[in-house]
Amino acid sequence: MFTSNPFAEISASIAPSVMQAYIVLMIVLVAAGTIFDILHKKSAQYFRANMQKSKAKGAKVSGGEILSIAIKTAVVDVAASGEFCNMRRRIAHLLGMYGFIFFALSTAMMIFCYPTRDIATPAIWPQLWWLGAAMICVGGYWFWFFIRVDVAAEGGSPFRLMKADLFILSLLGSATFALLWGYLQAKGHAWTMIAFWLHVVFTTILFGSVPWSKFAHMFFKPAAAFEKRLSKANGTRANLPAPADVPEKFSKGSHMPRNY
């Protein structure tokens, strides 16, 4: 079950070219949705204006430093979800993010490179596909039922739906029905195709809803993280005070505030 290419199994009823066209369509939808989102919310303009403001006020930052900030942003904030202060959220996000990358990558590989049963699929791709979907489900359901803040701090029901849930729910639906489909297919169950089509529906919602979901956070969150690091390097810190330089604990009540 974990080593067979699920897309090759159904290539008899759905032509590989149709599946390939679908993938291309999804990529186009994401690109178009993101560009629309950036233009509509003026996020690129916002970041550019902020960056210029910070540049005008702050100290000069050398090109080398900017490069190191960019690398730090990519490694710490993007690859390791460093922007989350809460460890539970960070782990859930890492599971979801890498799960999604494995899942999407293996899906594309299997559909484009090994579309039919005639070409043997290396075992790594189906395994990655299963692992990715499972990671999305673990991280996603953890987030959905336990971490979502309207549940934890606002005391809402874990089942309450709102627009902010569009992204996480369509992602979870896509991964859940992918797992179900793979399982039913391996068993040769009659409902295999129902699970498959539900998987397609949720995937389409996921990639088609970019302007309405927070899917676009993939594009503006790194920008925000980069900007935060840059503002620390050039001393502007978005007007925040620098961390206090008091290595020792304040002793008993004898300190007057320090004014500069």
Binding site: A153, E154, L240, A242, P243, K249, R258, N259
Partner: protein, 154 residues
């Protein structure tokens, strides 16, 4: 001066929702980011500002009459026992303040149940917890005597 949230900085963790005494910091239903639902009931107490791990909450001037272009931002570092403020005026003038917030370790206060219990006599007296020792005076808790108060107004 009500609070507002930098949407790109907020990650929707809900610390502000948890702490706001006015119950006006909530999570937006579309973007899952915090926002101030009722700026006119904001006391600018800065509880949410200090609680935000991302420093994503700031405080602005009133929309109707406060001058714009100033900034009052704060960094609370409980592990160091300090609070730092940066005040920026419209003319670019800046002031920095650092003050202690606590001289003991967080969580170090003992429950009164861990301290010696009051005696039988204490229950019959007028003293409150830890008195008369905590008063730091010689003698016992002052008691109102009939002749002590009416000696003029001041």
């Amino acid at each position: 001066m009500p609070t507002f949230v930098y949407m790109t900085r907020c990650d929707g963790c809900g610390h502000c929702v948890d702490i706001c005494p006015s119950d006006i910091m909530h999570i937006d239903k579309t973007y899952r980011r915090a926002f101030n639902i009722e700026p006119n009931m904001c006391w600018e107490c800065y509880s949410c500002v200090k609680a935000c791990p991302q420093n994503a909450i700031d405080v602005r001037g009133y929309a109707d009459f406060a001058p714009l272009g100033h900034s009052v931002r704060v960094l609370r570092e409980p592990e160091k026992g300090t609070i730092s403020w940066k005040v920026k005026f419209r003319n670019g003038h800046e002031k920095d303040f650092v003050s202690p917030i606590r001289t003991t370790d967080w969580g170090s206060i003992p429950s009164p149940a861990e301290l010696p219990p009051p005696s039988e006599e204490d229950f019959k007296s007028q003293i409150l917890a830890h008195e008369p020792d905590a008063l730091n005076i010689k003698g016992s808790l002052p008691v109102l005597a009939r002749d002590r108060l009416k000696k003029g107004v001041i």
